[in-house]
Every structure is written in structure tokens, then in C-alpha cells.
């Protein structure tokens, strides 16, 4: 299967270099208004995660694993982690990012970040 390109964009302040994701109209550090757009690059490192068993409306499954990860170029983002209950996730482990359906809404797939643990 051909992997889809990850469609998130982070924003690097042209004045101070601070990286933002999601978008802010002014830099959280220096209030600059000009940004370079940065695509996340490389693998990602797992910063924190949880496995949620009381899911919100719209999710018809027993649980959902969600985490925050940092890409090799510093971009940090939340995504779904593709690991079943028996998988021993650990902070700092390496994840392979993908752009996949993360929920189904109004008859359409909604795409987002998914992470596959690779050790």
C-alpha cells in the first residue's frame, strides 16, 4: 500500500525560530507574525500516551490509544497509536508515522496522524 503524505504543517517563527503546531497568528515566544511552514520529518519519539476505554460519541470500538510524539525535526503532535492492548508501549520509543483515517464522520473518513511502534 502506498503511504499517504502526512498533511500536517507546523510553523517556525521567522524572528526567533520557535516551532508551533497548531497555527498561531502570533509567535508564542516573541509575538512575531511571520512563519516558515515546516513539514514533520522522519520517525517520531513517543512523549506520552494513554489508552482510553470510555470513548466519545463517534467511536464504536472498545478502546483507543492516543499519544503525543515528537518528529526528528522537532514538530510535536498528537495522534492515534496503532498498538493493541497487549503491546508494551514505553515513553521514548520510536514510532513510524502515517496519514490514515482516524475517525468516520458523516459518512466520510477523516484523516489524521497514526503512529506505529517500531521499538
Amino acid at each position: 500500500m502506498i503511504k499517504k503524505e502526512i498533511e500536517i504543517v507546523a510553523y517556525k517563527c521567522k524572528k526567533c525560530g520557535k516551532l508551533h503546531y497548531p497555527f498561531h497568528d502570533r509567535c508564542l515566544n516573541c509575538r512575531g507574525r511571520e512563519f516558515d511552514q515546516i513539514k514533520p520529518e522522519g520517525k517520531a519519539k513517543l512523549l506520552t500516551f494513554t489508552r482510553i476505554y470510555n470513548l466519545p460519541w463517534g467511536f464504536n470500538q472498545r478502546y483507543l490509544t492516543i499519544g503525543i510524539a515528537q518528529f526528528e525535526n522537532g514538530v510535536k503532535a498528537m495522534g492515534q497509536i496503532r498498538a493493541d492492548e497487549s503491546y508494551d508501549l514505553k515513553l521514548g520509543m520510536t514510532l513510524d508515522p502515517a496519514w490514515e483515517p482516524v475517525r468516520h464522520q458523516y459518512g466520510e473518513n477523516v484523516y489524521g496522524l497514526a503512529f506505529y511502534p517500531i521499538g
Binding site: Y21, T48, L64, I68, A77
Partner: protein, 396 residues
Amino acid sequence: MRDVAVIGVGMIQFGRRDEDSLMDMLAYASLHALDDAGLGDQSVDAIYVANMAAGMFQHQVSIASSLADRLSLLPAPADTIENGPASGGSAVKNGLLAVASGYYDTVLVVGGEKMREVTGWRATDVVATMTHPTTEYVYGVTLPGMAGMFTRLYMEKYGVTREMLVAVAIKNQGMGGLNPFAHVEMAITKEGIYEDHASIVNNPVVADPLHLYDACPVSDGAAALILCPLEMAKKFKQTPILIAGFGQATDTQTLQERDDPTDLKAVTIASHKALEMAKLKPSDIHVAELHDAFTILEIAESEHIGFFKKGEGGKAALAGKTRLGGQIPINLSGGLKARGHPVGATGVAQVVDIVHQLRHDLPKERQVKNAQTGLTVNFGGFGNNVLSFVLRRIEA
């Protein structure tokens, strides 16, 4: 600016209130507060109504206007205040500033939410809409999920253990059992939720590492206050309780953008501003109502306020320092954990509970002896909008 006092309080029991509409609950709590202040047949100068999501839960908006009409408070100006789970704190702040400025003399502040009208599935979704729509909500993250990720980091950094979280749950649920206004009245034991084999069934994981008894219930409820200038307070029948300080601060909407996601900066700033305005130190506070939507938050907030050093809050909870008679009694109402968390009501209910403590009108099993000062923390979003109040007893 004028000093502002609480001269009336009212609350209804939190829980599942199928028989009452949101407007019923707001009206009952308001009438209790008006009666408590001795204003039973009079009006007020303004009304602030805290509510997070009646538009989604009840398909009803403009509730402040409806309440003014229902309570025959017309033509008093009325505003609905929405600030997520900190809506209650924001309404108290707006009432406080309105009276302090000299523009209004008597103000009704009431907060309420009716969350049990929808299924738990829907309620979880409604609450999750406070997360970032395209970088958090879309993935199915919930507030317990955010708290789970925070807890994992806090455990890793500060050595908080499940046993410490369990100590908070047992304390607060035990206090809830003594509070006639609490949603959860069932005491729990360490064996039942942690040690015993059956705890796997009794206390399942909801968002690991958090378990069922680490989380507050989904509740219906309402709470209300009457405020007036301190100089007028002696005309009313109750011991006036001064709002001696308040603080509010915001933080990034997403956890991932915080340099250190375990650092609840908005809690630190809000509580320290409130203490500074009241000219008090954390050690001067006799009783606190903290926003324990999850047990970890009581521990983390107790450290960020300065009751304990970072990494000591969990140990303090385990050692009983936050119980009645301890160094700083926290959540003697049962907290959100047991009193319940009708989101729009919580920030107001916390002030109501501190007012009772400072009036010395609680039964001895919940009353801090001779309490003179109290502090609240009302935590919005996942710490991205926090309010804190310091209250002080004024002797007649």
C-alpha cells in the same frame, strides 16, 4: 475598588436529577442563595449565570435571560458566562469585579449544568469539544485521556504512585459521604479499589494510568452566591465572607505546546495572584477546594499553589496531610470527585463550600476548626484557563 463580600449561598444536591430541568436547578440554587442572604422578596442589581454547554446538552441558549424572567428579577441585567469547566469561576470573577467597581451593589452569581440528560457517550464528546478541533479532538481524545497522558508524565517525573492517587480518591469520596449536597455518597476502601483481586472489576482503567475512581462523575447540579460591597454586608443576616483575592491565567490550548507539560503554569499564576492580592502565603490558608476532576489534579494543584513542594503532594496525600486535621485540608466537600462536576456549577460550588467553612456552620466531621481563610482553584480545559479565589472570614 471596593471590598466585596459573599452574603448568601445556595446549592442543590448534585447527581442525576431527572426530574429537574437546567432552569429548575438554576432557580432552586438562586432562591436558596437569595433566602440565605435575606433577600427573599427583593431583586438584585445584576445576574451572572455560568454554564458551559446548555446549547449542546439541552439545545437551549440565552439561559441568563430565561433565569431573570423565571426568578422575577426583571429588569436586572443578566449575562451567561461560558468558560468551559472554569465557567463558574469566571462568573464569580465577573460578579466580583462588577461590585468592586461600584457599578452594582447586589449581584447574583449562579452556575449550573445538566449533563445527565444525554448518554455518557454524548457527554464525553461534548466535554471533549474543549480540546483543539483539528489537532486533538479529531483523534478521539477525551478529558480523561488528556489527564491520563498528564498523569503518566507526572508519575515519571515526580514519582507519583497509584497508591497516592488512591489516597486522594478514598479521602474525597469519604468526605462526599458526609456532604448532603454530594453526588457520590458511597465510601470506598483501599482494598476495594486497589489491593483486592476484585479491584480489577470494581475500578477498571478508564484512561490509563487513570482508573474509574480517579475520575469525577458526570453530574447535574447548580450553586449560587449573592455578593455585595463589604461596607453594606453588615445590613444582611449572615457573617460576611470577604473575597480577599482572585487570579486568573491562561496557557496553551494543546498539551504538546507546553515546554514542560507537567508544569501547570496557569494554576501557579492564578493562585499566586489570588494569594498576593489577599496578602497571604500558601501556609496562611486553612482550607482549600481544588479542581480534582482527576485525582492527579488535586496532587498537582496542591504543589503548584505552594502547599507542598513539587514531588511532595502525593506523599502528603498518602500521609494524611490533606485530610481534616492535617496540614492543609483539601476538598472537605468531597471535591469534584464526590460532590460531582456539573461543569458550569463547579467554580461557584467551590466558593459556596469555602463560605460554609469560614462561617463555621458545617458539622464537626467536615468543619476545619476556627477556619479564617480558604482558597479555591477552578481548572478550565486541561489547565488552559484557571481561576483561583482566596476568601477570608470577617468578624462582626
